[in-house]
Assembly symmetry: C2
Homo-oligomer: 450 residues x 2
């Protein structure tokens, strides 16, 4: 379809404009940028031929909605993406500024390039091609693009839970995952869930001098260290009682398919920039990152961390922690088990409180769904290679929400690459994947509409 | 001596002016304030009658020096204090701004009120009284006041190590400790030493997404938690091999004297604002805080600690840690033991490096020295109560430096109170102790000069 080849320059310009908006949803000071990003999408959708594009306001960041329903009798697809991005720190590690997109070696570098602005635009541009060249689509489409994916905000969930008639669809399409390897078309059929929270630990009522009181005073940072190491042993085994009981192990067939994926620990280590893999003994890397839960600490606030020396025993400290969940773990049960384990191992002299910031269900999709099969065919055609099925260790809570409240499966066609530095400095998106992704989604719409 | 009673208002005004200078030595942006504080002291000393007052420039913050040597045949005392202060954070916990001194209930509240600006001025004002009223002192005095005590800077040490003739003295006098209880005159005969450093832990070369890599990627914060909990057990027992071998236990006589000190755990807990005491089982609070070493973590930098959620596995993290040492532990040995223990317990997948920021020797002084006896008598007269001998868990490295390089003992007459919030928000100094401290030091000079 020539339109897609002819318009690569303008697609790229659109992506650059989108990437220049620092729409970081976790930082309140970027509220205006969030709105600019949402409004940019409304304009893009209108230019693409979707006159219905509009913002849906509500508690939290606006949703972007647009629909084209001119194919009665054909399936309806709900096209999902998100326009918000992760914070960019540590800034000093970026080779080019995170919100000034720069192209190096066929990659575009910027925060959100891959996650998820580039992939969200793939959906928009695929639809644009049909409407510009034929004035019609082979299927009905509904765009629903949110601005709180990275902050765990609940606007889209609250909206979907109402089951508004305008969201009725046969399947969702989500471009927010990655290809297993360059040139290897990939569909993700499983995602880990998440429970993200804070562990608040308090010792004395005020900061204390470590000379005067050291030896008798409780230290909240040491207490956090005690709790973290009690809940996960040195080898990476979780020690939260009952937590692993409901885990559904991958089938033999899935395990066998994983074993055929092109993978070496050496390459994987190189991609991570690490010297050695860690994690639960007795499980493969795929199991550890796709099919086993985790407990990770993301940061500890409290005490003195400036230049030089301060001999303080802080009164309180806060750790950011998350648990990744897998099928069939349940969020409420996991939270209760975590809280109870924290209370159990909390050292004397301090109090520990858990505050949950956001959650998302794990999901597993049936690879035999006709929408999954159509996507696999479209990807195979666009990339000229057999499509592989994987899972992802990350969490896209909306998949569970669509399943639960709209009763539809999600097709996860991802065009990111393993070294795209999601959530890290120097995030990038491989431009050939941007262009081929658009063509693959277009072909998918054709196949579904046949 | 009437001069001291008549001039309390001007003493207080001088203290307030001194406290308004935010001379924080650990924060580079306060360099100009450091100089202002040093120059303020030169002026104060000149006004007191010490025309010789001057700055000694060198590597680091200036030393303030002044001498009066008009009592040949009499002992010479080296009067030590420091004009730098600790950082004031967390600012939001101060009831009045840290550098706008405010008097509430006979206490003056400001950063440095007690540690050590108030106590440094005690020495200046005691000398001023003699020079203003008699034109002469009963002994020879040399002031040596530094500006790097809170940052572990080495200017004073480097200077003292040269053994300049102008520092020749019979004993040092240091007002930088506290009274055991209100109204209870106290001489501190033992101090803990310190090794303050940073533990740098590196995992991957860049921050990683905890969804994608969680389960296989090393987490430097978790690794720090592993190291900290391996080096100190849940009960507070240090697990650094060999570290405790050289500890000299307090004598039975000293233990018996400590047992007579007015002390209840309830009051102590209240002072700390804590719910429960922690620390090594089998030792009293005095032993744990005065005669046993510690390992404390003061803060951990790395990862995400802002508002909201970021699912990052940080590439690196840094913990600020200190060890307090007691007689007869040796600094170099302690550092080597610590480094070797860290290497031993460092989890796989990360590297750990120890950087030492500053050190100070532990010290123990003979309570039968004539200078200690003179100080005890002066304090007993000024406060109307028998002087008690204590130790302090804090570190005043200069005591060891004076002992080692000038071969003189130090007399630690302290006028702080246990609840003065040193190194913490709402630091204060009890004004009656300020005034009585001046009179006690004056009396001490008289007794030494007899």
């Amino acid at each position: 379809m020539n339109y897609y080849e002819q318009n690569r320059t303008s697609f790229l310009e659109g992506l650059k404009t989108f990437l220049r908006i620092p729409s970081i949803s976790t930082l309140p000071e970027h509220k205006p940028d969030i709105r600019r990003a949402a409004e940019f999408l409304v304009q893009e959708l209108r230019s693409a031929g979707l006159a219905s594009a509009e913002l849906i306001e509500g508690p939290g960041n606006p949703l972007v909605y647009a629909e084209w329903l001119g194919a009665p009798g054909k399936p309806t697809l709900l096209l999902y993406g998100h326009y918000d991005v992760q914070p960019a720190d540590p800034l000093e590690e970026w080779k080019s500024p995170p919100f000034e997109p720069e192209i190096r070696n066929d990659n575009i570098y910027a925060r959100g390039a891959c996650d998820d602005k580039g992939q969200t635009l793939i959906l928009v541009k695929a639809v644009e091609g049909f409407l510009k060249t034929k004035g019609a689509l082979p299927v009905n489409v509904k765009f629903l693009i949110e601005g709180e994916e990275e902050s765990g905000g609940g606007h889209i969930t609250a909206y979907v839970k109402q089951r508004p008639p305008r969201l009725a669809a046969d399947a969702a399409v989500i471009c927010d995952t990655e290809m297993f390897a360059p040139e290897l078309p990939t569909i993700c059929v499983g995602l880990r869930g998440i429970v993200y929270g804070e562990l608040h630990v308090e010792g004395a009522s005020h900061d204390l001098h470590s000379g005067v009181y050291g030896g008798a005073a409780p230290n909240p940072i040491q207490a956090i260290a005690e709790i973290l190491t009690a809940l996960k042993d040195r080898e990476g085994r979780l020690q939260i009682p009952g937590f692993c009981d409901r885990i559904r192990p991958p089938s033999d067939k899935e395990q066998a398919a994983w074993a055929r994926l092109p993978f070496t620990e050496e390459e994987y280590l190189k991609e991570m920039g690490a010297r050695e893999l860690v994690g639960e003994p007795g499980y493969t890397v795929f199991e550890r990152t796709w099919a086993r839960p985790t407990l990770e600490v993301h940061g500890i606030r409290g005490g003195f961390t400036g230049e030089g020396a301060k001999t303080v025993i802080p009164a309180r400290a806060v750790a950011k922690v998350s648990m990744r969940l897998v099928a069939d773990q349940r969020i409420d049960e996991a939270i209760a088990q975590f809280k109870s384990a924290v209370a159990e191992v909390c050292p004397k002299g301090v109090s520990a409180e858990v505050k949950i910031l956001h959650v998302g269900d794990a999901s597993l999709t049936d690879p035999d769904s006709p929408f999954i099969r159509a996507a696999a065919q479209a990807l195979t055609e666009a990339f000229g290679k057999e499509t592989v099925y994987t899972r992802s260790g990350g969490s896209i809570p909306i998949v569970g929400v669509f399943q639960k409240h709209l009763d539809i499966p999600s097709v996860l066609m991802g065009f990111g690459l393993p070294d795209d530095n999601l959530h890290a400095p120097n995030e990038k998106f491989h431009l050939p994947n941007f262009y081929r992704g658009i063509e693959a989604v277009a072909r998918f719409l054709e196949i579904v509409g046949q």
